[in-house]
Point group: C2
Chain length 248, copies 2
């Protein structure tokens, strides 16, 4: 592959619980005269969560003593912290007013991915999808009913990183291709075996789409055209086993 193109689908409306994302995306693709085939669609987690009703009204949240304690120390909304704790299986690090959590999916991220921005309503928290791989698979299946394919699908979110400031989009779920492009057995240009080279394609695609998904832009869906899709798998294949991890 020597050339790829990224297009932000225009006119995706605000998404509400129960909305049919496949229909919204199909309409947007038609407007942009894009046939969803031979590429990867990257969809922002926020609209997937909203469509799935994964939101919590903070007014109805009763913070635990632990949530109130953290909120007080870190100057946060105790109801937000309570939701974060409920969405976490473990706090990996805490400090500098940042709460790095491990989610039931196995993601390690700030606030267990619970977000208060672009929620569509005041005092509403948006949670991560319950099973982003399943969400990606279902959305891909719906789209393939009316589009030619082949089609890869990535659900992405902006995560902070250790050691570096700023956020980069990573994949939370995927379908239709292998999220890790295993090169074991291939060779570099000197003929040296590339034993440990395994580009994390799903995360690279998410990061690339992030260039067109600024939070104030209203473009939560990006179409990436021109890539060859190889293999199959779920995003879980990307998550390192805790026993092999040096930072947990």
């Amino acid at each position: 592959v020597t050339r790829i193109e990224l297009v932000a689908l225009p006119g995706i409306p605000r998404v509400e619980s129960g909305d049919d994302l496949a229909a919204l995306i199909t309409a947007a693709a038609r407007t942009a005269k894009i046939e969803l085939g031979g590429g990867v669609l990257v969809v922002c987690q926020k609209i997937v969560s909203k469509a799935e009703g994964r939101t919590v009204a903070l007014a109805g949240v009763e913070p635990s003593a632990r949530a109130r304690e953290i909120a007080s120390e870190d100057d946060k909304d105790p109801r937000h912290v309570e939701v974060v704790l409920r969405e976490s299986i473990r706090i990996v690090r805490r400090g500098h007013r940042v709460l790095i959590c491990e989610t039931p999916h196995g993601f390690v991220c700030a606030n267990a991915g619970v977000d208060l921005s672009n929620t569509g309503a005041p005092d509403t928290a948006v949670l991560l999808p319950k099973d982003p791989d399943a969400s990606a698979r279902a959305l891909r299946g719906s789209l393939l009913a009316t589009h030619p394919g082949p089609l890869g699908l990535v659900i992405s979110d902006s995560f902070g990183r250790p050691w570096r400031e700023g956020q980069v989009d990573v994949a939370l779920g995927c379908a239709g291709f292998a999220p890790i492009d295993q090169r074991t057995g291939s060779h570099d240009l000197d003929g040296r075996a590339l034993m440990v080279t395994a580009p994390a394609s799903a995360d690279q695609l998410a990061a690339a789409a992030g260039l067109l998904m600024r939070k104030d832009a209203g473009t939560p869906v990006v179409w990436i055209r021109g890539l060859e899709l190889v293999g199959d798998g779920t995003l879980r294949d990307t998550l390192r086993d805790a026993s092999l991890d040096l930072f947990r």
Copy 2:
């Protein structure tokens, strides 16, 4: 921005110490009929290091006792480990035959970025550039002498990550734009202030280019067209201060 394009520049030859990268890139861009203006050029660290002579012949490396000890325990080449230790200011983690080092630049990565693949010669290690921001600035300056600009420049490398398998390309150096797209003061679609949203543009660009920079592809330079370049800065702006870091 609603559309961007990535093109791998064709025909970049093997790079040797002392090669003029700007001339090689200019020739490749001409072949591809690309005018380097209004976009960002992402250049793989490997060819920058080679052009700068940042290679070490392992035959001349005398491993220290510490390097021999690590190499023996981890089944590695002691001369490689020795070079890694020389390029590190600190070992951040060690385990599972992986050596996570902090480099003098402030990067935290496996083997201090010292690489044995695609080195162009057997038993040769390629080091990271001494000052990748300076390398980016110099290369950009040379290119702007014969290209219209505006031009952003990123020097990228593939890094592993905590918690996730596989590698994603990140920026080691940049010039001509702000590597962190500060959004403090901007608002989300609900009018809620986006206090902590700061996309790491340089890293997103590196990751995107990585989609076209597979190690076996021989395409170490990718042109990204259609982005608006904002601000200015060096990649150092992306490195989190150690005192604020929760994973060091």
